[in-house]
């Protein structure tokens, strides 16, 4: 049976009881990422569904406070009404894992710490979580950070919550920095570049004054028969027009040209649902220094992997049947790391979701985890 504490006090008591009984708790906002991570059966699911709703949102302050279980879709529509956005482009894994889009909760978004294409320049979830209220594995409620955009009072525990995958504390409320939604955008594309040429063109454009907001590359056979390299511009119309002309000039050797709006929409949407990658093999999310993306891809025989590249090379979504060991070794050789997103239950049982850390760092990380959760209540073994 799922545990559903109704308020902060019940949540504290539930966690405290679990800690002393030696029960593990799997935290759930809505459960969109249930088919990710090592399958676990011997733990109780703790739903944070009671902590839902937007508590405070004053658009000119650029700050929004909401219950952790507030559906992302509700937050996004409140922001859209005021021409604002979450600039990190929350990444909804549900469609990839076979669920409904938009049901994911803001707590799940924060805890998974996954950001979309705009992360390249606008920062990740970590750069937009200003503060939070949570219950630690000791069953103590605590707050950290603040509700204003600029704050250095006390340790920045918000950073730790982003990407913690429910292993540190149960979030009840989060305060996020929000930003104006760009008034207009444009996408420019070039065809037939290989990964190295694509990376080099991105590097040149990102080093220019064109203020690129996102840059992605699709090999032949993903979006179309040709390879497609795409850069996105956004902002006020006169600025976007001037910068599009700049991209066409700087990227003339590669033939960067403005794409139709419908083509552009398709390109960026495909990076959100990853529909361009086959569903069956294991799917990985590989984070690496952009310049090493081509080296990483060269570690595989062309027929063995399907992939797309985001963040100008800094992120590769990879579908492959090759052994996990091979993916992780290749990522590590390129100073990167690989997260296992989707795989059969057998693989997920054998392969940890997150890349293992060097020893000294792993020990430090372990001590930090125990600082929040000394009895390992939130260690379901999923990650």
């Amino acid at each position: 049976m799922i545990l559903r504490p109704a308020d902060e006090q019940e949540l504290c008591e539930t966690v405290r009881a679990a800690a002393s009984a030696g029960t593990r708790l799997s935290l759930e906002g809505g459960g969109s990422k249930v088919s990710m991570g090592r399958p676990v059966d011997d733990c109780r699911t703790l739903s944070l569904g009671a902590f839902s709703g937007i508590a405070d949102y004053d658009p000119p302050e650029l700050v929004l406070t909401a219950g952790a279980a507030t559906p992302l879709s509700q937050i996004e529509s409140a922001l859209a009404e005021n021409n604002q956005m979450l600039a990190f482009e929350p990444f909804d894994l549900a469609p990839i894992l076979g669920g409904e889009p938009g049901v994911t909760t803001i707590g799940g978004v924060v805890a998974s710490g996954l950001a979309g294409s705009q992360r390249l320049v606008h920062g990740g979830v970590r750069d937009h979580l200003l503060g939070f209220r949570a219950v630690s594995g000791r069953g103590d409620a605590f707050v950290a950070g603040g509700k204003v955009v600029k704050n250095v009072t006390g340790y920045d525990l918000s950073k730790l919550m982003c990407g913690s995958w429910g292993r540190l504390a149960a979030l009840m409320e989060v305060t996020l920095k929000v930003l104006p939604r760009p008034a207009s955008q444009a996408t420019l594309i070039a065809r037939d570049l290989d990964p190295r040429a694509a990376w080099a063109s991105f590097a040149r454009l990102l080093g220019s004054q064109a203020e690129i907001a996102a840059a992605a590359h699709f090999p032949p056979g993903t979006l179309e028969d040709h390879a497609i390299s795409a850069v996105r511009l956004q902002g006020f119309a006169p600025s976007v027009d001037a910068r599009a002309a700049m991209v066409e000039r700087i990227g003339s050797a590669e033939g960067y040209r403005r794409a139709d709006a419908s083509v552009a929409t398709g390109i960026w949407a495909s990076l959100r649902d990853l529909s361009v990658l086959p569903r069956n093999p294991a799917m990985w999310r590989v984070s690496l220094p952009a310049r090493q993306a081509p080296d990483f891809l060269e570690a595989f025989a062309p027929g063995d992997v399907r992939w797309v590249m985001d963040w100008a090379g800094g992120l590769i979504w990879l579908s492959t049947d090759r052994p996990a060991e091979m993916v992780r070794t290749a990522a590590q050789r390129c100073n990167g790391h690989a997260m296992l997103l989707r795989a059969s239950a057998d693989i997920r049982r054998a392969v940890p979701t997150l890349h293992t850390q060097p020893d000294a760092l792993a020990r430090l990380e372990e001590r930090v985890r125990r600082a929040f959760d000394p009895a390992s209540v939130f260690e379901t073994g999923r990650f």
Partner: protein
């Protein structure tokens, strides 16, 4: 001074000569300072009201030396205070009588610049401005720009999570660093973050930034570089009231514009700055806004018009737009010189640093005026208007008995007010010793304990920079205690990392 620091350990003080010898064996004869005249310059940081001569100063040159120093001090139970350039305004680098002051001034090299991946790897003692200087010929810069940028070190910026006038658009230090090498108090060297945008496990870099020298010594930093914008234009806008200026700021942001910088000064600050630099600030207004817009030329032109129209709707008087780089710099000159300018109005000034929700500005300024009368001390306000970060400058004379104490009480009242209206104690200068005892205004006991438990994960013996940030230092063992069923941790079989 009312500030209470941890009781010095007389035993350690008595061992000074022995400690100096041990450290010399690690860093060489000249890199340990122990003469009274040599130690004098280190007795305070930018918060000069507090002074303490350190036990001794050690100036390592390599990460290996830092590691050996910390390991040795850790073994011997000797406290260590890290120091960059000593410009902290919150007393973060204030020495302790029984602690080794570890200066990072010799870590002053830019190690690598990668223009294609737009990052630089630098040692912690490199100054903030030196990073920009190293890359500006190639058209790049490092975005966070504290006013102290010619002097402050990147290691200090990381420790304080420093900001600058451009952080509304470009972020604070935390948003502009990718990785760091960190030496823990036991001498262990770890790398947090790296050259990727996402961390592979917990975002430990995120908590190292802003940890005020309490979790480890930063020995290398990887920062992001940005291409310099094509154009930057500034406007000066006067307002008949602070309220109108505040509404204008809110409307600019509500219209979707995030200016590169948006600074406000109140009447006393405007007058002081104009008297000091004579750049033509209007003297007949209650508030002055400096708005900077950057980007491609077309963007600047477009946004200047938009902002001008918004300002017009709020009764702006005398809008001026910079047409040349000299003029833009002149507009900023007064703001950038605001501290020394205000410094001429009184023998001493005390710079505060709270953040408030911007909508509370009129209320906060009104109350600040009342407090100013109550304490009989003047106050001038410069204000990062875009993000609600206030810098009230309290004027006093340290030579007049009781004035420093009154200035501090006034300052504390201002910070309490910031918290009361939904804001925070510090926007960019850090807690240090200055706001340490005010932490309970903003955080409860459990909140502070949770923060300290994180500190314990890095430095379980509390030897690194003690007496800072936390009003009460609990022993780590005491904080870690928890009632666990039959003394067993559940599921001992699950791998812990």
């Amino acid at each position: 001074m009312s500030l209470k620091m941890p009781e010095p350990d007389e035993g350690v003080i008595a061992r000074r000569a022995e400690i100096a010898a041990a450290l010399r064996a690690i860093v060489g004869e000249d890199n340990v300072i122990d003469s009274p005249t040599g130690l004098r310059p280190y007795e305070s940081d930018g918060l000069t009201a507090y002074r303490q001569v350190p036990l001794l100063v050690v100036l390592p040159e390599t990460t290996a030396q830092v590691s050996r120093i910390l390991a040795w001090c850790s073994e011997q139970g000797i406290k260590v205070v890290p120091r960059g350039s000593g410009t902290s305004l919150s007393g973060g680098a204030l020495p302790l009588e029984d602690a080794v002051l570890l200066g990072l001034g010799k870590f002053n090299r830019v190690l690598e610049v990668d223009y294609e991946d737009r990052l630089a790897v630098v040692q912690p003692g490199v100054t903030n401005l030196a990073i920009t200087k190293a890359v500006e010929d190639a058209g790049f810069y490092y975005a966070p720009d504290p006013s102290s940028q010619i002097a402050c070190s990147i290691g200090g910026n990381v420790a304080e999570n420093s900001g600058g006038v451009h952080c509304l658009k470009y972020g604070l230090t935390t948003n502009n660093v990718l990785g760091a090498e960190l030496v823990l108090m036991d001498g262990e060297v770890v790398r947090v973050g790296g050259r990727t945008l996402d961390a592979s496990g917990l975002d430990l870099l995120g908590v190292v930034v802003g940890s005020e020298g309490l979790v480890g010594v930063v020995t290398e930093v990887t920062v992001r570089l940005l291409p310099k914008p094509e154009a930057a234009r500034a406007m000066l806008i006067g307002f008949p009231s602070v309220e109108e200026a505040g509404h204008c700021v809110a409307d600019v942001i509500a219209s979707g514009i995030i200016p590169a910088g948006m600074e406000m000064m109140d009447r006393p600050a405007i007058h002081a700055a104009e008297a000091f630099v004579k750049v033509g600030y209007p003297l007949d207004v209650e508030a002055l806004l400096i708005v900077e817009l950057d980007g491609v030329a077309a963007e600047c032109t477009h946004l200047l018009e938009e902002v001008e129209a918004i300002a017009g709707r709020h009764g702006a008087v005398g809008i001026r737009v910079s047409t040349t780089e000299e003029e833009r710099n002149a507009f900023w000159a007064g703001r950038k010189a605001a501290f020394p300018a205000v410094g001429r109005l009184a023998p001493d000034y005390y710079c505060m640093d709270g953040t408030i929700p911007r909508r509370q500005l009129p209320r906060v300024l009104k109350r600040m005026g009342e407090l100013s009368e109550h304490y009989g001390l003047g106050v001038a306000n410069v204000f990062h208007a875009g993000d609600g970060n206030l810098h009230p400058l309290i004027l006093y004379d340290a030579n007049k008995p009781g004035e420093l104490d009154r200035a501090e009480e006034f300052g504390n009242d201002i910070l309490r007010l910031c918290v009361e209206v939904g804001g925070v104690l510090t926007g960019e200068h850090g807690v240090g010793v200055e706001k340490r005892d005010l932490m309970p205004e903003m955080f409860g006991e459990d909140d502070l304990k949770q923060q300290q438990r994180v500190k314990c994960a890095f430095d379980p013996d509390l030897l690194l920079n003690p007496g800072k940030v936390f009003p009460t230092l609990h022993r780590c063992a005491e904080l870690g205690r928890m009632h666990v069923h039959h003394g067993k941790v559940p599921f001992p079989d699950i791998p812990r990392f």
